[in-house]
Symmetry: D2
Subunit: 194 residues, 4 copies
C-alpha cells in the first residue's frame, strides 16, 4: 500500500468541501487557463459544475461565471464551495445542459465542459463563444476526447487534444529524482478555438 499523492491545492481551494464527484485538479485547471488565456475581463460558461472546484478556480480569475448542474446534490456542494471561497460572481443554473441552454449569444470567452457527453455540447459551445474564444473540456476517457475532437474539427478553426502529466520530485542534498509513485493520469483536455 502507498500514500495518495498530495494534489497541492492552493490556499484558495483548501477551505472547500470534498465528498462529491471527482474534482478538476489545479494541474488541469491551470493548463486550461494557460491555453485559453482567460483573465479578469473574461466571461466563462461552465457546463457541469460538479463539486464546484473548477467553478471556484474559474471565478477566482474571470469577471463572471455561469455554471449549469443538473444533479441536486452536486449543485448544493458546488454552491457551498463557491460561498466558502467568498466568490460572488457565479450564477448557478439547475438544469440539464443536454436539453439546451440560454447562453448561445456569442459573448463568452471560455466554455468549459465537464460532462460525460462533452461532444454533444460542441455546437452549443461554439454558439456561446466570441470569435477567438475557447471551448475546453475535461475528458476522463480517450473515447470521449476523440468524439469531441472530431466533432469540433467541423465547428472550430483550431482544435487540439492534450494530456498533462505532472511529476513531483523528491529533493535532498544528494538525491534529486521524481517520486517513485504518483498520479499518472487525470484527464484528456480537448481545446478548440472559435
Amino acid at each position: 500500500m502507498m500514500k495518495k499523492p498530495d494534489f497541492h491545492f492552493p490556499t484558495l481551494l483548501r477551505k472547500l468541501g470534498r465528498g462529491g464527484p471527482a474534482v478538476t485538479l489545479p494541474k488541469d485547471a491551470g493548463l486550461i487557463i494557460g491555453y485559453t488565456g482567460i483573465g479578469k475581463e473574461s466571461r466563462v460558461l461552465e457546463l457541469g459544475s460538479g463539486s464546484g472546484f473548477m467553478t471556484v478556480q474559474l471565478a477566482n480569475i474571470a469577471k463572471e461565471v455561469v455554471t449549469y448542474e443538473k444533479r441536486d446534490e452536486f449543485l448544493k456542494i458546488a454552491q457551498e464551495n463557491v460561498k466558502k471561497a467568498g466568490l460572488e460572481n457565479v450564477v448557478f443554473k439547475h438544469q440539464d445542459v443536454l436539453r439546451g441552454i440560454n447562453e448561445e449569444d456569442g459573448t463568452y470567452d471560455l466554455v468549459f465542459v465537464d460532462i460525460a457527453e462533452a461532444d454533444a455540447m460542441a455546437e452549443t459551445a461554439s454558439k456561446a463563444l466570441k470569435k477567438g474564444g475557447y471551448l475546453a473540456a475535461h475528458c476522463l476517457h480517450s473515447e470521449q476526447a476523440k468524439l469531441l475532437h472530431l466533432v469540433s474539427l467541423k465547428l472550430f478553426s483550431e482544435v487540439f487534444t492534450i494530456e498533462g502529466m505532472v511529476r513531483e520530485y523528491e529533493v535532498r542534498d544528494f538525491g534529486f529524482r521524481p517520486a517513485h509513485f504518483g498520479l499518472m493520469h487525470t484527464a484528456y483536455l480537448v481545446i478548440a478555438r472559435k
Copy 2:
C-alpha cells in the same frame, strides 16, 4: 528533420513579439497559476521579465504586477509586449534583483522568479509575500531547482518541485494516439507556500 511542435499560444499571446529570451509557455504559466491560485485580486511580483510573455499572462489575471528586468534589450521587448496586450496594470523596474528590491513588505500573493540564480531570491520572496502566498520559479536545470528547493525548505511552510509534461494527441476516425515527436521538457517548477 521534423517540424517544431505548436505551442498553442492563446489569443492573448498571439500579438506579442518573440526574438528575445526563452518564454514561459502556456503550459508552465498555467501550472503556476493553477497551483498558486492567483486571481483578479492578486498582487504579483515578477523577478526577471524576460520577453514579457509571463508578465502578460500574469497581468491578464492579476490586479497588479511589478516586474524587474536588468537587461535593457529585454526590458524593451517586455514593455512592448505588455503594451501590445493592452495591459495597464504592470509596473516595470529596470534593476538587477540580485542587488535587492523594494517590495519586501509582505503584501504579495505570488512572487514569480525567472532568473538563473533563483535560489538567491528565496529570502527576498519570502519577505515580499503575504502569509499563504506563493513563491514560484521556472528553472531550466535540475541543479537550479534543487538549490532553490533546499533553501526554500528553511523559509517556507511547504515546498514542492514539479515538472509538467504535455503531450498532444493526433486524432482521426481510427487513430487516437500521441503525436510521435514533440516537446519533452521545458522547465522544473519550484513552488513554495509561505
Copy 3:
C-alpha cells in the same frame, strides 16, 4: 525545424537497412523482452516481419524465430536484414497470417504481433503458446490496443496494456535536464500471459 532524435540503435542493428515499414525501436523491443522474459531457450513466433528489425532483436536472443510476412517487398528487406545481422535461427514464411498459420501447437514462449489487425490473431496466438507463454503486440493506435486487450481478456489469464516513454537527458557540468524535443510516442504494447 529540429533534428530527429537519435534512436540509439545498438551495435546489432547498425548494419541493417531501413527504407521499409516503420521499425520496432529498441525501447519497445526491450520492454517486450523484459516483460515476457524470453531468453536463449525461447521459441518465438512473429506475425508481421515488417523490416525485420524486431526479427533481428528477437532472434539475437531466442533459440528460434518463425516469422510471417505477406508483402513481397517487406519480406525481402527482412530477409536481408536477418542475413546482415548474421543470424541463422530464423524461418521466414511468405503468407498472410489472417488466412491461418501452422504453429497452433502450444510450443511457443512468445508470439509477437505487429500487424494492424492484431486482435484477429489473439486466438491463434493463444493456441500457439505454451502455458506461461506470452502474446505481445505493438499497436500504433489506442483503438487497436483496446480491441486486442478486450479480446485477450477472454483468452488469457492476465492481460495488460502499457506504453513506454523514454526521455533522453542533456548532461552538462551545470545543466542536467531532459532534452527539449524528442520522441513522445511510438506504440501501445498489449501483453497477455497464457
Copy 4:
C-alpha cells in the same frame, strides 16, 4: 491509500524471493537489453548483484554472467534466486568492486553497474568491454547519473542518459485511459558504447 502498482514480473521472475535490496524491474532491464543489444552469445559483467533479479534477467539471455557483490546477505539472496531460476551460467564473486576486479580484459559485451558509486567504475568497465560493447548503469538519483555520464564522455565513444516511464492503461468497452495512480520513476539509465 492506494494499491501498489503491479510490476508485471514475467514468469521467469515469479519464483524468485524478494526481501533484499531494490530490484531492477523488467521495464529497466528490458530497456538496457534493448539499447545494448545483448543476446545469447554475449558475455556480461555485473557490478552489484543486489537481489539477483537483474542477474537472472541477464543470465536468461546471455551466454555467461560474472557478477560481483560485496555484502554477504545480498550475495546469498542473489545466489538463491539464480538457483531458483534454474540458471547455471552465472559466476558469483564475493568482493567489493571499488577495490578492483579481474575482468579488465576487453572481452565483455555488457558491463552492468548497479552500485551507488557507478561513476567510480566507468574506467574499469571501459577496460572490461570489447569494442562496440556497452556500459549500462541503473542510477536512482540524477546526481549519480550525471557523475557517471560526465566521466563516461571521456572514456567512451557514445554516451546517453535516459529515463523510461511506463504507464499502464485501464481498458474497458468505453474507457481506454491510463490508470490514475502508478509508478512514476524507477531509475535513470546511463548507457555508454565503447
